[in-house]
Structures are given as C-alpha cells and as structure tokens.
C-alpha cells in the first residue's frame, strides 16, 4: 500500500534524517514508527503526504508515485492527525471536522452533516460541534483531530504523536478508542510515537528507527519483543521486554476453577462458615467481585458490608497474561479473579496455573 524505495532525506543543514529506507507498510493495518527524537520517524511520515520531499528515492501510495498528483490534492486523500491536534482555533468543532470535505467541494450542508456523523463516531456529544477548540479538554481536542482526519473517509491515516500531549489516563482511553475504530474501519495507519508501550499496544507491526535515519527492524510486536534484531532494539524495548511480551498474550487459554464467595449483603456468620482460610472473596449482589474479605477482621460485626475489603480487579479473557500475573502478586491469596464480559464472577486462576501457562509459551 505505502512503499518506500531507497528513500533518503538530507536537510539543507547537512543532517541525514532518513537514510536509504526501503520498506512497505501493511494495507489495513497499523504500522508504528518508533525511535528517539531525531531518528527520522516523523520525516518518514511526512514524506508520505509530501510535507517533506525526499532527496532521492520514491514513495508510492497504492502503486502510484506520490509526486504524480499536486501536493494539495494528494493530501486531501490522506488523513492527517498531529500532536496537540492542530485544530483551527477560529472555527467551531464542526467546521474543523468539515475542513477536507469543504476543500473537496462537497457543499456546506453535506460537509456539516458528515462532520456531525463523525462527532458520534469518535465519541463526542453532538453539542460539542458548536463549540470552539479552546473550550474542549485536551483529550476531546484530540478526538476532534481524529474526526477531522477521517472526514473524507481516506484509506490512509497518518498520525504524528497524536496522543503525546495528554495525560496517561486519557491516553489509554484514546488508544482504546483507536483500537475500536480501527476494528471497524480497517484503515492503513502509519503512527509515529516515541512511547514503546503505545507502539506495542497499537501496532500490527512496529518499525524501530535509530538516530541517523536507519530503520533497524520492522516486525509484529510479539516477534520484536521475543527476537530483537540487535542490542539497540533490545535496549530500546527496555528491561521489561519480557513483561511487555506477556501484555500481548490474552487469558483465553488460561484455565480457571470455581471459587467460594460470599455476598456483601451476607452476615458475618455466613462468611465465617464459608471461609476455609483467612481470606474470602466477596461479590456485590449482582455477582461482580467486590474485594477480598479478611475473615479475622470480622470480629464483633454482624454483616460484612462494613468490613474493609482489599481491592480486587476481575479479569476477562481479553485481559493480558501480564495483568493476571500482576493480580496474583497483589491479591492476598495469589489468585487472579476471572469474570465474564459483563463483569460477573466466573472463577479464579491460581498463581501456579498462571506461571505454568506463561512457561508453556516460552
């Protein structure tokens, strides 16, 4: 889909931003370009929509050299999202989203109708369309940035550190949204970040760049983590490379067994009768795990609702082996509590079972 052939970019000041790059990015997948600053990842991205022209070599999109079309026309067919969203401060959110359709001559009414539709797609309230960018939070602005890039339904989306300026909680939320959107839309996405965790979460393939504009390795996240090409890649993936690998493996194949539990509405006597040791799992009346109950702390109280519960996080099959491992470490019983998609308790996996599964993969 997107193809670089012996592409080199040297800037006027003599620095080589990209050095003899030949690579093809997957159609309908997310390719993440990572590397420290000045490694040429952003320049590579910007050569796709010709915000930067290569010194030598060719970049082609869908089999056609990107230089065949006038730059402005080419760009209208490619979605572009940047850090801080780069929204137009003097235009309403709706008009911001309608930018490319307007440039394509759709007409005001149609462009606005499409913009309103996209507000919903990216999870923003319809009323926010009438507001101005500075009236939105950073996360909301970034959603508008994504909506604006999607407005003319381009097959390709270029994202340059789009979530770099928002706090970690919002960033995770936006990443989840992107994963959800991509499952529906199947765009060819090129995503630049310096955050390796973000790359592992989002990428179908990850390309690692080293200072001087060399692409060192391109591979699916699991392969990259399991077999880094050299010390540079291993170093970039960090000391917790093994744990990151576990974050890619789901709990689907990890067995669990039934576990005894009391309801938070039950009496202390019932809890004592049920308990086989010091700790007992408590669930809320709708069956969702509420916390670990310390039976020894029940002395003197009638119901267990008042007793302090140690927090528990129920894991679904979609959660990762890493989070299960984390639960076995942080729960007082060494058990990872399992729930169904609705969050209702189904059982628990013992730490030795989790460890055994992890070893079976190695």
């Amino acid at each position: 889909m997107i193809r670089f052939e012996s592409v080199t970019k040297r800037f006027a000041n003599g620095t080589t931003a990209v050095d003899d790059l030949s690579v093809e990015f997957l159609e309908g997948g997310i390719t993440v370009l990572v590397g420290s600053s000045g490694c040429g990842k952003t320049t590579t991205l910007r050569m796709i929509n010709r915000l930067v022209d290569p010194t030598s070599g060719t970049v082609s999109l869908g089999g056609r050299d990107v230089r065949e079309l006038p730059a402005a026309q080419l760009r209208r067919g490619i979605g572009y999202v940047i850090q801080q969203a780069g929204l137009f401060p003097h235009r309403t959110v709706l008009d911001n989203i309608a930018t490319v359709p307007t440039l394509l001559g759709w007409g005001r009414r149609k462009a606005r109708a499409r913009a309103a539709e996209l507000l919903e797609v990216v999870g923003l309230a319809a009323e926010s369309g009438k507001r101005y960018p500075h009236q939105l939070s950073g996360g909301q602005q970034q959603r508008v940035g994504v909506a604006r890039a999607l407005a003319a339904d381009p097959p390709v989306l270029l994202m340059d550190e789009p979530f770099g300026a928002v706090d970690p909680v919002v960033r995770t939320l936006l990443q989840d949204e992107l994963i959800r959107l991509q499952a529906e839309l199947r765009k060819t996405i090129v995503f630049v970040t310096h955050d390796i965790d973000e790359a592992v979460r989002l990428g179908d393939r990850i390309a690692i760049f080293r200072t001087g504009g060399h692409m060192v390795q391109i591979a699916p996240p699991a392969e990259l983590l399991a077999r880094p090409a050299d010390d540079f890649v291993a170093g970039f993936l960090g000391a917790e490379r093994g744990l990151k690998l576990l974050s890619l493996i789901s709990l689907q194949d990890v067995p669990y067994e039934p576990i005894a539990a009391v309801r938070t509405t039950d009496t202390a006597a019932q809890a004592r009768a049920e308990a086989t040791g010091r700790w007992l799992l408590a669930v809320s009346p709708d069956g969702k795990p509420a916390g670990w109950l310390d039976v020894h702390a029940l002395d003197g109280s009638d119901s267990i609702g008042q007793a302090a519960l140690t927090p528990v996080r129920g894991l679904t099959d979609a959660d990762s082996l890493l989070s299960a491992l984390n639960e076995t470490v942080s729960s007082p019983t060494g058990m990872a509590v399992r729930v169904d998609a609705a969050g209702v308790l189904v059982g628990a996996s013992r730490d030795d079972v989790v460890h055994a599964h992890q070893r079976s993969l190695a």
């Binding site: 915000l51 402005a72 940047i82 801080q84 780069g86 137009f88 440039l103």
Partner: protein, 219 residues
C-alpha cells in the same frame, strides 16, 4: 470669564458650528483627510504585512523600515514634500500615509507570525494550498492584531491630521493654527479638545467593533 467657561461657550455657540468655516464642516474635513490617508496606508501596508507574515521573508527589512518610518517627524515630511511639489494636499496625504504604514505593517506581521506552526502545518496537511491557508486560516487568526494595527493607525492619523492646516488647508487643525496666530487661546483649546474627542470617539467605536467581531476568541 475664566478659560473653561470661555471654552464651553465657544464649543456650544450655534454660530460656531454652522457655515463653511464652522465646526461641522471642519470636523467633516478632518474625518475625510484621516479616512483617506488610513485607507491608502492600509492598501499599501496590508499586502506587505501579509506577504512577509505568510512567507517569513523580508521580515527584518520591513520591521526596521517601519521603525525608521515611525521616527520620521511628520511636520518635516510635510515641509519637505511641500518644497518639492508645491502647495497642495499631496504633502499632507503623503506624511499621514507614511505615519500610518508602520503600525499596520508591524501589527499585521505580528499577527501572522503568532499563528502557531502546528496550525499552519495542519492546514497544509489537510490539503490547503498556500493561498487557501492564507485566507482561511492565517488571516482570520491574525485578524484581531491586524485590526488593532488599523485602529492604532487611524487614531494616530486623526491626531496628526491637524497639520493640514499648517499648509493652509482645513480640518480641526484650522482652529489650532488660527488661534495661535491670533493669540486666541480659547480657539486653540477648542480645536485641541475637538481633535482629542474625535480620536477617542473613533477609538471607542473601533474597539466596540473589535469586541463584536472577535467575541469567540480567547485573546
């Protein structure tokens, strides 16, 4: 009678306002000179400010020339052009236009330069041509500062347009120069008060327009 009550009497006498030499006529002339000068200055200065703001080229030269222009004494220009071209309104217009250009150029440039690089990058990345980015993004964003430059220039020109009278033409300066020649302090004060009032009134009107136009802006 003390000066103040003489001044009030001068300003409020009906005879003073009417006729071909009355205040109404002088006010009209003053506004005419100022408006025409500012308009011509804007026609020259806006394209220059927009060009250097959009391309980033020639900024150093333009800003320094503007500084130089501001330092020029207006009466000096009037006298100089008068000596070269003879008696006409030309020297007055030239000096007033020269006075107005620097404020408009520097403010327009400053407004354009203040548009964030990310915003311009987004405009290009969305597929706007250079001109589309200029008219749809950069100029609207620079508009508040451009407007401030125009407002500043207008007020400066109104305050300075009294020099038309220096070379025997009309406007509110008439009262100041005639009053000085006749040692009629009341008339001098009356003229000064009228010029100041006109400048303040126009500034307030332009500020009001500014607030209405840019009510959605942060700054």
């Amino acid at each position: 009678m003390d000066l103040l009550s003489k001044l009030v009497a001068w300003l409020t006498s009906a005879g003073q306002w009417a006729g071909s030499e009355g205040i109404a006529q002088r006010l009209f002339e003053h506004v005419e000179y100022s408006l025409l000068s500012t308009l011509v200055a804007a026609l020259i200065a806006l394209p220059i400010g927009l060009f250097i703001g959009h391309t980033g080229r020639g900024a150093f030269l333009a800003i320094n020339l503007s500084g130089f222009g501001r330092a020029l004494p207006t009466v000096g220009i009037v006298t100089l052009v008068f000596l070269v071209s003879g008696l006409s309104m030309t020297p007055v217009y030239i000096s007033l236009v020269a006075l107005a250009i620097p404020s408009i150029v520097t403010n327009t440039y400053a407004g354009m330069a203040a548009v964030e690089a990310d915003t311009k990058d987004a405009a290009r990345g969305m597929g706007m041509t250079g001109l589309q980015s200029l008219w749809r993004v950069e100029v609207p964003l620079a508009a508040p500062l451009i407007m401030t430059g125009l407002r500043l220039a207008t007020v400066q020109v109104i305050a300075t347009a009294t020099i038309a009278a220096y070379v025997s033409f009309g406007g509110l300066g008439r009262y100041i120069f005639d009053g000085l020649a006749q040692r009629d302090l009341t008339q001098v004060m009356g003229g000064a008060v009228l010029v100041a009032a006109l400048a303040v009134a126009v500034d307030l009107i332009l500020a009001g327009i500014h607030r209405v136009l840019f009510r959605h802006r942060l700054t």
